[in-house]
Amino acid sequence: MSHHVGAAASTMQIGVRPVDPPLLRVRDLDVSYARAVRALRGVSLEVPHGAVVAVLGGNGAGKSTLLRAISGTLPFAGGAIDGGSVELDGRRLDRMDPAAVVRAGVVQVPEGRQVFGELTVEENLRAGGLAVARRARGPARDRVYELFPVLAERAGQRAGLLSGGEQQLLAIGRALMAAPRVLLLDEPSLGLAPRMVERIGAVIAEIHRQGTAVLLVEQNAALALDLADVAYVLEVGRVALHGPAARLAATDEVRDRYLGVGVAADHSTPDHTQETDKPELVVEGISVRFGGVAALSDVSLSVAPGSVHALIGPNGAGKSTCLNVLTGVYRARAGSARYGGVELTGLRPHRIARLGVGRTFQNLALSATATVADNLLLGRHRMTRAGFVAAGLRTPGARREQSEQDGRVREIAELLELSGALDRPVAALPYGDRKRVELARALCAEPTLLLLDEPVAGMTADESARLAGIIARVRAELGISILLVEHDMTFVMGIADRVTVLDFGKRIACGTPAEVQRDPEVVRAYLGAAR
């Protein structure tokens, strides 16, 4: 499965003699969580001296796991290295604790910035330098202030008051305080405005120019391929592709992965969107802000009854925020979302659920120790009437209700190909099956509109194709409308009737999958300009 796109040529391009051993070398790395879920399988990767190496891949591909394995923080997430090695200049890092890894010169900037909001900017920088010798800290701080004058201006302010972009600069500056030889960056462009992303790009280029090697994990392939010398594409824990960044950006494989081009789109037959008695979801001009960051600005879309509508966009585009507004978790600052004439913004989450709007979560929200059947029964709570007294006394009414509910749970399990797993605890199921349990539980509340948050994230291509079939069947048999958020383009293009594309909180395109794939704005958002 690993396609090698001229790696030898790449090392030549970046002006490093091929005989030089790499600065950071990851060899045949196997990682699992809770001794059960295998997150990385045989991953090998090299970061040459002074190079920028990008790691691309969808959600659940194993990118964050790779960084955790390098920085020694896997145990905190319940993971462990089962095989392989991580070496810096020939020294094994994989047996060190995180503090020793930092002292060895490998420093990670975590995803989502994670600045210490209660500390001042200056104190954040001091925290970054705690691992290195005291005398090294002064020069390091001068360098950071020179790179980011805005941090010097705000040295005494609490970091929590900085804008999202400034927080990202601070997070990078904080890592530079430890004078890293290799800087690990986890999704630095996540949730930032376009101009700030450009700024971050320039910063990474400058850090690189000053001689620090960078391992860059990004879902924004446009940014990553632009900055990197070499890129690796991870897919379900394996390296699927690697080679010089410029060449990778031009390959069909990368275009396929990020745009889903070439999928035989078997949809948009008009009878899918037949007139039903189900209501329509109409979203108009929704805006959401978090502190200084505009998460959504003036987004509109509508989901026709009985149709599948996909909401796509690079990481941080505002997709999950949009779902959270529709389910009442976040408040919109402006705009409206009406479902069958009822205004959803301002309603509490349980009221929205009662209107027939169901959802699944990106990170599974199941009870792991309960059986699949019990999890599904919990999903039917909205449909039950018997109180705990009646249920406890096993009155005839309560027993009848119990058997009705059991019957419906079995039907839904069958629809989702989970019949065999009903009596097993959720924790014992493979990840792909758990995602289907999550979907089944949402269906158990008999929604008329189902919101799916990344239903195939972390699934293999086979599992994802199987789920596409299941969702098509659910829609056909239950006649419900579906709004889904997803990164996996192949999946989206194969299943959606209409697609809305978000980028930095704004709608940049809307139309059928075929229209969206051809849209130059969309190509630019995913793969960058001049590709």
């Binding site: 145990p75 995180p98 001091r126 705690l130 691992a131």
Partner: protein, 297 residues
């Protein structure tokens, strides 16, 4: 009016002591997210060591010995619990500290038996008159020591590397790890500090006008520490200071005006801090200075 002023001065001095007690409670929570129910027994342990040793060693050396013993025992509890810290949920560890508290308190009560232990402090039962207001000397000493310790502690948290490491790992432990901060070390040092504070607090908590060192001291101290820490915000050192003051004042005033408050029943002074705590929590569920829990969906 004189009665009122007396209560203000007494409230102030008791508040300083309560702040000192709450600080040791908060510091462990801040560093480890563990509610340390063994804190009361640590305090009793400190007082016990002073009570047993002062006759032989003299007062100052006895206090020093108590500091060392409580810090060592606290470190032992912390490190033994810490070994499991990575896996266990802080709630479970809090229950373990409850167990430690019961064992420690029971054993110390047994050792005290029927002995009349006193702290042997040089202030004895002397009372100073401040502008016509009678205040026990021990309370003045407690206030001075508490102010110095709390101020020094806040300064250390604010300005030193250790303080920055503590605050960073309290706010985002996973990220602090990425800075090379060793969470176990931060946690162990917090336990040691809490143990030391417990010894000092134990001294003043059992000195005059308290009846002396008895097995019930631990529970009584915890009864002051919990409302003070919770209403101040469990993870805030500033909160411990303000919370301790609030508890000291409330208890003093409720006791001082108990004739007027008789309709609430006898002994309302013991309950009053909890009433204040509940009222504060109704308005600010995370306490006055506590950091809010935010969960991303």
């Amino acid at each position: 009016m004189n009665h009122f002023l007396t209560l203000v001065v007494n409230g102030l001095s008791l508040g300083c002591l309560d702040a000192l007690i709450a600080l040791g409670f908060v510091i462990v929570f801040k560093a480890t997210r563990v509610v340390n129910f063994a804190y009361g027994s640590l305090l009793l342990l400190g007082a016990y060591v002073i009570g047993r040793a002062h006759a032989a060693l003299g007062f100052a050396a006895a206090v020093l010995l108590a500091l060392v013993v409580t810090a060592a025992v606290a470190a032992l509890i912390g490190v033994v619990l810490l070994r499991r810290l990575r896996q266990a949920d802080p709630g479970a560890l809090a229950i373990v500290t409850l167990g430690v508290d019961i064992v420690l308190a029971t054993d110390l009560t047994r050792r005290i038996g029927t002995d009349l232990l006193t702290t042997g402090d040089p202030w004895g039962a002397e009372v100073v008159a401040l502008g016509g207001i009678q205040v026990p000397q021990t309370r003045v000493a407690a206030a001075v020591v508490a102010v110095v310790l709390v101020a020094g502690f806040l300064a250390v948290v604010k300005f030193t590397d250790w303080g920055i490491g503590l605050r960073a790992s309290a706010e985002r432990p996973a990220t602090a790890t990425l800075m090379g901060i060793r969470l176990r070390r931060v946690a162990a040092s917090a336990w040691v500090l809490a143990g030391g504070l417990a010894a000092i607090a134990g001294l003043f908590f059992t000195a005059f006008p308290s009846p002396g060192i008895t097995g019930g001291v631990g529970q009584a101290a915890l009864g002051a520490a919990v409302p003070a820490a919770v209403l101040g915000g469990l993870d805030s050192t500033t909160g411990a200071l303000i919370g301790g003051m609030a508890v000291g004042f409330t208890a003093t005033f409720a006791a001082g005006y108990q004739d007027q408050l008789a309709f609430l029943g006898r002994g309302f002074g013991a309950v009053a801090p909890y009433v204040v705590m509940l009222l504060v929590l109704l308005v600010r569920p995370a306490g006055l200075f506590g950091s809010k829990e935010i969960t991303r969906v």
